[in-house]
Each structure stands twice: as structure tokens, then as C-alpha cells.
């Protein structure tokens, strides 16, 4: 267990997360306005979203489906009866004066997420609940010295709030949990997981305690929008709390904001005034009733989930746990791998995808979907290695070329004449020349300096411009030098 060392001993950090994930749907949760990102101000707003007098909400079935699909993917209990409630507070980007959310009866109950840590340990993080709610609009404070500008385009977009249990004990665990959750959401297509655009945001509840003690007073860090900031914010906050307690102080339960510029959390005094949300069931909406058949239909339509896929990759392809985990993190990557691995040596394919393709994509800042080398093309390259047309080292060069030009491996090999030399006579000729050029080294080798064998292999390969078949070079060299 990760502990935080203070002056008075070890401290345990306790973290629970509330993740707000924007549901992928065409229209908003309770209105027919579009959810598309980045339109002109107030252009994706219906008079329902603007809370004009007499306007009423009607629930979007896709949002219910998405919540249920997500609940099923989290192995959670689906509540066949759930209720939308009003959360009342005033804010200019909250047009109704209340947010329609779910309070006492959420659509999804308890579930869990398995999180693989780097040290190979799998951690189980409990899910407390998942509920649907409306997003608020956007307030812009820096457009004018005296005014805030209000854009309601986001107002009413459907969010899922996924609340974890306080099961995480380090910033790394919290970050790995969000990362895994994001992977699951993206797999099933219920949220695009884009933290930069705000489609996935999280609030972290952090407290510290001496091991075995009761839970400490927690602070809530609001609206963290990247995994790095999440780790930094938790680490800063935990250290801050330990310092206060060790100095004899107490922690105030409060809402704090992470300032990524300064790398610190600070109290949001404006939010400190006592909130009293006065939740009550929204009388404009009837209770949501799901049938068991509906839930089963959603379950049947779920794709293979990351954990299932990982286990299958390990079992069917013989991949290592690590490689399987890396490949399944994104569904597109897993699909890419499987498409290449089909009919080929899966371990070799995994190696190419993880070490070569990911490396280059990362460097180029590209996504697997924008990869210049298609699954089909990478397969072609690996086939050329398998049938001894090219050597592994030539293949890496060919791959670089493919990544640059998008050409097929076979064409590059042909154009540049990179086919492997497997003609015994030709290789022997090169070897003879190498031996003739290095009489001293030959003498040393034959005098017992075995290590020099590698030198001859290198010289031979270089003389063949890397095209000689390495196995044949080995065999023929031994014959000539030892023979």
C-alpha cells in the first residue's frame, strides 16, 4: 500500500472520484436541440433549454440506453425504477434555476471496475452509483470588464455522473481508475472520453488518515480535466492536509479548485456558502421504468469489453498480461491488432504494433485511426519477414518508409531492391571477400578469440547492405572460418 510519510509517521490517502461523462447522443437529455460541439453561441438551444415559461422536459431514450449500457459494462445493478429529481440552485448558466438530475433513485446502482497497476497488481474500485443529469451552460467571464456572457449551447446536454467508492489509496490508483473507466466508456461508445474538450471531467474527494483510523474530513477538488492534473492535485492536496494536521490544525470540509499553473489547490470561497439543493422528484417527469427485456437487449448488444478482450488475447494469442493490457486499452487498437494478427504469429504482430507502430504514432502525435500504415499493410510487411523476403532489420527500414509514404511494403522492397539474398553462392562470395580483407582478425579468431565471430557477421551483413539472410550468413561463416 502506498503511504505518505509525514513527520509523525505514515499517512494513508483515501480518494473517491465523481466522474462526469458526457453521453454520446444526437440530441439533449430533455430537448431536441443538438449536442454538437463548438457552434455559435445559443444556436444549439431550444426554448426548452432556455427555460422559457411553460416549457417541459421529455426524456431522450438514447440517453437512458447509454446509462444502462454503461451500468452493464461496469457490472452494476440496473434499477428498473428510477426517478429524475430537481436540484435547485441559482446560477446564470442554469436557466431553469434547477438541474434535472437523479438523487435518491438513480438509474444504476453498485458496480466495480478492475484497475491494473504498473506493478502488476489488480485493484478493484467499487462504483457507488451512476445517474443521469443535465449539463449547465457556459459562463464566459473574460469578454467584458463588468459582465459575464452566457451561452446555453451546453445547457441540457446529457451527462452521466459516475460515483466511485472511496477505494483508491494513491494518485496513481486514481489516475489508473479514470483511465480504465474512460477505456470502458469509449469501448461501448457511451462517452468519447475527451478530457480536453470537457466530455470527461472529474471531481476528487481526498482525505488522509493514520492507517486503521476512521475516515478523515475530505475536501472536494472540482473539475480536474487531465489525468496529469488529477495526480498532481491529489498529491498536493494530500500533502497539504497532512501538513495541517501535523501542525495541530484540522481540515475544513470544503470545495477546492486545482490551479494547474501554480500546481496547487485553493479554496473556492465563492462556492462556500451553505448549499441546500432542495432535491425533490421532478413533477414534470414521470418515474422511469425499464423492463428486464430492455436491459437484456442492451446487454446483448454490448461489445466485448476491455477485460474480456484482454483475457481472450492472453488465452488465444499467448500474449503477456502487459502486452494484452496495452493492446486492449483502446478498442481501435485492439481491432487493429486483431486484424493484423489474423493468420499470423500474434506475438510478433503484438511486438510490431506496440514497439514500432505505437512509438512512431506517439512521436507523430497521431491516433491509430490516422495511422499511415494500415493493418493490411503492416500485415504485408510481417509476411515479407515470415517468408524470408526481407530480414528483420531491413523490415524496420521498410516500415519507416511505409510510415512516411503510406506505400505497401512489397512495393518499397521491390523499388529499392531490398529482397533478402538467399543465394548460397552470392553470400559465399561476400564472405570470401570479408575473409580476404581481414587476415589478422581471421588469425585471431582461429587462435581462439570466438567473440570475433560477431565481427564477421556484421561485416558480411554490411557488405550485403543488410540483405543477406542472417541465418545463412551464420551457417556459411562457421563453415568457412571453422572448417
Amino acid at each position: 500500500m502506498t503511504m505518505l510519510e509525514g513527520r509523525t509517521g505514515s499517512w494513508e490517502v483515501v480518494i473517491g472520484l465523481e466522474v462526469h461523462a458526457q453521453v454520446i447522443s444526437n440530441a439533449k437529455l430533455f430537448s431536441g436541440a443538438s449536442t454538437a460541439f463548438g457552434a455559435e453561441p445559443n444556436s444549439q438551444v431550444s426554448i426548452v433549454d432556455a427555460a422559457m415559461p411553460g416549457m417541459l422536459p421529455v426524456v431522450n431514450e438514447r440517453c437512458l440506453e447509454q446509462a444502462v449500457r454503461t451500468g452493464l459494462a461496469l457490472g452494476a445493478k440496473i434499477n428498473l425504477h428510477s426517478v429524475f429529481a430537481r436540484k435547485n440552485y441559482f446560477y446564470p448558466d442554469l436557466p431553469q434555476g434547477y438541474q434535472i438530475s437523479q438523487f435518491e433513485e438513480p438509474i444504476v446502482g453498485e458496480g466495480e471496475v478492475l484497475v491494473d497497476m504498473e506493478d502488476g497488481v489488480t485493484k478493484t474500485v467499487g462504483i457507488e452509483r451512476l445517474h443521469l443529469e443535465q449539463d449547465a451552460g457556459k459562463s464566459l467571464h473574460d469578454q467584458s470588464p463588468a459582465k459575464s456572457f452566457i451561452d446555453l449551447n451546453r445547457s441540457g446536454v446529457s451527462l452521466m455522473e459516475i460515483v466511485s467508492k472511496p477505494d483508491m489509496r494513491s494518485a496513481e490508483e486514481a489516475s489508473a481508475y479514470v483511465s480504465k473507466l474512460r477505456s470502458i466508456l469509449r469501448y461501448i461508445g457511451s462517452c468519447d472520453g475527451n478530457m480536453q474538450e470537457g466530455s470527461l471531467r472529474c471531481d476528487a474527494n481526498v482525505s488522509v488518515r493514520k492507517p486503521g483510523d476512521e475516515l478523515g474530513t475530505r475536501c472536494e477538488i472540482k473539475n480536474v480535466n487531465s489525468l496529469r492534473f488529477l495526480r498532481q492535485a491529489i498529491e498536493y492536496e494530500a500533502a497539504r492536509q497532512v501538513e495541517i494536521i501535523e501542525d495541530g490544525g484540522t481540515i475544513n470540509q470544503e470545495t477546492r479548485l486545482y490551479d494547474s499553473g501554480k500546481g496547487e489547490t485553493r479554496s473556492m470561497r465563492s462556492k462556500e456558502e451553505a448549499h441546500d439543493y432542495r432535491y425533490f422528484p421532478d413533477p414534470d417527469l414521470l418515474p422511469i421504468t425499464l423492463t428486464p427485456e430492455f436491459v437484456e437487449t442492451q446487454r446483448a448488444a454490448l461489445p466485448e469489453l476491455p477485460d474480456e478482450k484482454k483475457n481472450r488475447f492472453i488465452a488465444d494469442y499467448g500474449l503477456s498480461i502487459y502486452d494484452a493490457g496495452v493492446l486492449v486499452a483502446e478498442r481501435d487498437t485492439a481491432d487493429f491488432f486483431e486484424s493484423v494478427a489474423n493468420g499470423r504469429d500474434a506475438k510478433i504482430v503484438a511486438n510490431w504494433v506496440i514497439s514500432e507502430l505505437f512509438g512512431r504514432l506517439n512521436k507523430a502525435g497521431k491516433d491509430i485511426n490516422d495511422s499511415p500504415v494500415s493493418a493490411h499493410s503492416l500485415g504485408g510487411l510481417i509476411d515479407l519477414i515470415a517468408d524470408d523476403t526481407i530480414s528483420g532489420s531491413i523490415a524496420k527500414k521498410v516500415f519507416d518508409d511505409m510510415f512516411e509514404t503510406g506505400k505497401e511494403a512489397a512495393i518499397i522492397v521491390k523499388e529499392q531492391g531490398l529482397e533478402q539474398v538467399t543465394d548460397t553462392g552470392a553470400i559465399e562470395g561476400i564472405i570470401d571477400q570479408v575473409i580476404a580483407d581481414n587476415p589478422d582478425k581471421v588469425a585471431e579468431y582461429r587462435g581462439g578469440k570466438d567473440k570475433l565471430f560477431g565481427f564477421f557477421v556484421g561485416q558480411t551483413m554490411r557488405a550485403s547492405q543488410g540483405k543477406a539472410n542472417p541465418g545463412m550468413v551464420n551457417d556459411l561463416l562457421r563453415k568457412k572460418l571453422d572448417g
Binding site: 422559457m52 416549457m55 417541459l56 432535491y279 425533490f280
Partner: protein
């Protein structure tokens, strides 16, 4: 001629238009003049004579083309709680200053689609909160009726649909829309000697009607005959996919359901409605009603509605709670009044302090309190459970009876300014109307007689959910027997 036209019912005017006795433009002109003539009553907030005449001209064309709708060419008043496209909509509140909706409420759209002509928007208690039409920012509405021995005292028309009631009673509209949350259609109908029908919750769409208490609000017709109520309800009602609480049920032909009488019908008389201190004349009227229905062949059955006593208290928790949330949108940001402030919070607090009247503020504060942390269970949740009890009482009763007969209100119209110091005394006006509202049941008030002071009194028929047909049929029978034809003191054109 013109007072003859304004004295018609929807049914007789419809027949006259069909026969070509007069045109809709003539009918509307007569009503436009009547609207002007009743200005002293302060029934209308906004008069729309040009729009009315335009609509009437269109109606005449449709009538000529044989394409008349159910309300074709009939001039009516619209309670100023219904949003009307391009026409000032106030809810009787300062806070909606200058609000011109860009949309039409479903109910008014349905009515206009059926050919109805809009004379204007009529006054109401602010946000429909009141039982005397004394709380409107646009001033009190005066009842066209006067006491027999006191022609000076101005009386209230009841509320909240007081403008609707006064306009219809004074012949300044053939009919009007009303909304009923705890009695706001039935009580003013009783106070002004007209018919007021609150349909089953879910029968008329709430979309585009300014919300007071979402689980109770229901639009309905206010007319001068039961037949008219049937005609108009048919045009207002209908499933609306934009309202999640709207019932997907076909709208029956209510007018056709009027005939048949109450022979064989079982009419329940709830013991618990005989309350302490109920005026003798109300009791007498009720007995009279029982006699009429019995005489027409109905079987009278005593029933129990044991939780009646608690209905009013439950109502005055549930309705303010919902209202406190429904009225949060009036914040000076997107429409209506904005009173400036140094900060956003000041702007909110100033706008809402100045924009809302005293009764609205009182209810918003009560509603805020009963929903607040620590009190929710004791007040709101308890009230909703009591409400379940009340609905259960009715369900049990309807196992034995087809409809229930009760008084509409515990008294006749009172003077302006009376009952104003004691909110609870005012709330008691709703004692007979609130139970059906809490249970979502259809209920109608029919003028049945006069008080000792010479003021109209109504009797109420309550029915099973979505059984407006039985309610209308029983009401028609009462109307027949009562033969109420006394006119108010103040009638347009007289």
C-alpha cells in the same frame, strides 16, 4: 343585435354561424365592443381586437368553404397564463414585464386550430396563486355580480381565473380558458354563476402554460353552459408528446356524451364534506342538488373520503414547494423584468423582490422552506403520502359510485379586500376543490342557485380519472334541474 350576439352560448353561436345568421366578423365585432364596455371590471390585461378581427375573417372564409372547426369563429378570452405567440403574456406578474413568447401553448394552438378567435388575454391572480383575483400586478378584477342589498361593495370574482370568469359572466367573451391548480377554475365559476370544468390531470397539455404547481395544474374551459364546456374541452384536450404527463388517450366526443341523463347513475355524497361551520345555505343548496339528481333517476349513496380534512394542508405544502422551484427561472437573465444590482446576487434578489408580489413571495418562501434540508421528510414527503391517502379514498369511493356531488365553495363571492389579512382564511376557499385536484380527478362546477345575498353558488361533480363524460352528463342534469338564468348586474352592452 350586438347584445343578442354576446348573449349567445358557444353552441348557439356555432349554429348561427353555420346557418349564416351572422358572420364571425359580426360576432367578433360585438364582442370587441363588449370587451371595451367591461373595462371597469379590469378583466382583460391585453385586448387584441385587430388580431380577433383578422382571425374572424379567416374563420368566415373557412365557414364559407365548409371547413369549419369545432370552435370556428367563436370569440373567446385566454387566461394570461397561456403563452400566446407574439402577444404579451404576463401571468399577472410584474416579473414577466414585456414578455412576448415566440411560441404558442398547446392548448391555445389547439383552440385556434379549431377556429377559435382570441379577444385578448384575461387577468388572473399572480402566477395563478390566489382565490380572489386580488394578487395580480395588473390590479384586482371585479365580479360583475353585486349583492342584492348592497350595490356599492365591489366583489371578487374568485381566483385565480378571475378575469376569465368575469369576462364570461359579463358577456365579454363567449367562453374563456382557465387553469385549475386547487380550484382556480371551479371556485371563480361558482362565484360568477358560470360553468367551469377542470379535466383529469393529463387530459390537456401543460406545454406552453406558465407553470404554478406542475403536478396539479390543469387547463379547462369556463363557459356559460355545460354543453359549451363539452364543446370547448373537446377542442382544448388531446395527447401532446411535448408534455411527459399528457395522457395518450383519444379525446371522446364530449358533446355527444351529454345526453342520456343520470338514470341509474350512482352519485356519492361524501360525509366529510359536511364541515363545521358550513353556512346553512351551502348545505341547503347541496341538499337541493341531491334532490335534483335523485329526481332525475340517480341513486344517492353516502360515501367516506376520510382524509378530506387534511387535503388543504397537504395542498399548501405541495403546491408552494413545486412553485418555489418552478418560479426559479424568473431570474432577470433571459426574459422579463431585470432590476439591476452591483453583483449578480443583488440583481437576482432585487429582480425577484420587486418582480414578485406578496402572495407569490409568501408561497415561494414556504415552498423553499418545506423542501430545505432537514424539513423535506416532515413536510413535502409527508404531504405527498397524505396525497396518496386522499387519492386512495377516491379510488375506494369510485368502487361504489359513478360520480360525487359536493358544493364547489364554502361561500359566495366576498368583498374585495376581505380575507386579505389572514392567508389561511383565504386558503379555506379551496376546501371543496382541492381534494379532486390532489387526486387529479375531473370536476366541474355548475351554477345551481343564489345565496341569501343574491349571489350565485355552484355545485360540483367529481368523476373518475378520464371519465369527463360522466361528469358532464351529471352536470347537464344538474343544470337542467337548476335552470339557473339569473344574470349578473354588470353585463356588457346593457
Amino acid at each position: 343585435m350586438s347584445s343578442e350576439l354576446t348573449g349567445l352560448t358557444l353552441a348557439t353561436a356555432r349554429d348561427g354561424l353555420a346557418k349564416g345568421d351572422f358572420t364571425s366578423v359580426e360576432l367578433t365585432q360585438a364582442h370587441v365592443a363588449a370587451v371595451e364596455a367591461v373595462r371597469p371590471l379590469n378583466a382583460y390585461i391585453t385586448e387584441t381586437p385587430e388580431k380577433a378581427l383578422e382571425m374572424a375573417a379567416e374563420s368566415d372564409k373557412r365557414i364559407a368553404a365548409g371547413k369549419a372547426g369545432a370552435m370556428e369563429g367563436l370569440p373567446i378570452a385566454i387566461k394570461d397564463l397561456f403563452c400566446t405567440k407574439g402577444v404579451l403574456t404576463t401571468a399577472g406578474s410584474h416579473i414577466l414585464d414585456g414578455f412576448h413568447p415566440t411560441y404558442e401553448s398547446t392548448v391555445t394552438a389547439n383552440l385556434f386550430g379549431a377556429g377559435a378567435v382570441m379577444l385578448g388575454k384575461v387577468n388572473l391572480d399572480e402566477f395563478a396563486m390566489g382565490s380572489a383575483n386580488m394578487t395580480s400586478y395588473y390590479g384586482a378584477v371585479e365580479n360583475p355580480w353585486k349583492r342584492k342589498d348592497d350595490k356599492k361593495t365591489k366583489l371578487v370574482p374568485g381566483g385565480s381565473s378571475g378575469g376569465s370568469a368575469a369576462a364570461v359572466a359579463a358577456r365579454a367573451a363567449l367562453a374563456a380558458t382557465g387553469t385549475d391548480t386547487g380550484g382556480s377554475i371551479r371556485q371563480p365559476a361558482s362565484f360568477t354563476g358560470i360553468v367551469g370544468l377542470k379535466p383529469t390531470y393529463g387530459r390537456c397539455s401543460r406545454w406552453g402554460t406558465v407553470a404554478f404547481a406542475s403536478s396539479l395544474d390543469q387547463a379547462g374551459p369556463m363557459t356559460r353552459s355545460v354543453r359549451d364546456a363539452a364543446i370547448m374541452l373537446g377542442a382544448m384536450a388531446g395527447f401532446d408528446p411535448k408534455d411527459s404527463t399528457s395522457m395518450d388517450k383519444p379525446v371522446p366526443n364530449f358533446e355527444a356524451a351529454l345526453d342520456g341523463g343520470v338514470k341509474g347513475m350512482r352519485i356519492g355524497i361524501p360525509r366529510e364534506y359536511r364541515m363545521d361551520g358550513m353556512p346553512a345555505e351551502i348545505e341547503k343548496l347541496w341538499q337541493q342538488g341531491i334532490g335534483w339528481l335523485k329526481g332525475a333517476g340517480a341513486t344517492i349513496v353516502d360515501i367516506d373520503l376520510p382524509h378530506t380534512k387534511y387535503a388543504l394542508a397537504a395542498y399548501y405544502i405541495v403546491a408552494p414547494a413545486e412553485a418555489s422551484s418552478n418560479l426559479a427561472r424568473y431570474d432577470g437573465v433571459r426574459y422579463g423584468l431585470r432590476v439591476p444590482g452591483q453583483t449578480l446576487q443583488e440583481m437576482y434578489e432585487n429582480t425577484r423582490a420587486e418582480g414578485f408580489g406578496r402572495e407569490v413571495k409568501r408561497r415561494v418562501l414556504i415552498g423553499t422552506y418545506v423542501l430545505s434540508a432537514g424539513y423535506y421528510d416532515a413536510y413535502y414527503l409527508k404531504a405527498q403520502k397524505v396525497r396518496s391517502r386522499i387519492a386512495g379514498d377516491f379510488r375506494d369511493a369510485f368502487d361504489h359510485v359513478d360520480a360525487i356531488l359536493a358544493p364547489t365553495a364554502p361561500n359566495a363571492a366576498f368583498g374585495q379586500g376581505e380575507n386579505m389579512d389572514d392567508p389561511i382564511a383565504m386558503y379555506l376557499n379551496d376546501v371543496f376543490t382541492v381534494p379532486a385536484s390532489l387526486a387529479g380527478l375531473p370536476a366541474i362546477s355548475v351554477p345551481a342557485g343564489l345565496s341569501a345575498e343574491g349571489l350565485p353558488l355552484g355545485l360540483q361533480i367529481i368523476g373518475r380519472p378520464f371519465d369527463e363524460e360522466t361528469v358532464l352528463r351529471a352536470a347537464r342534469s344538474l343544470e337542467d334541474a337548476a335552470d339557473f338564468d339569473t344574470k349578473p348586474d354588470f353585463i356588457a352592452g346593457r
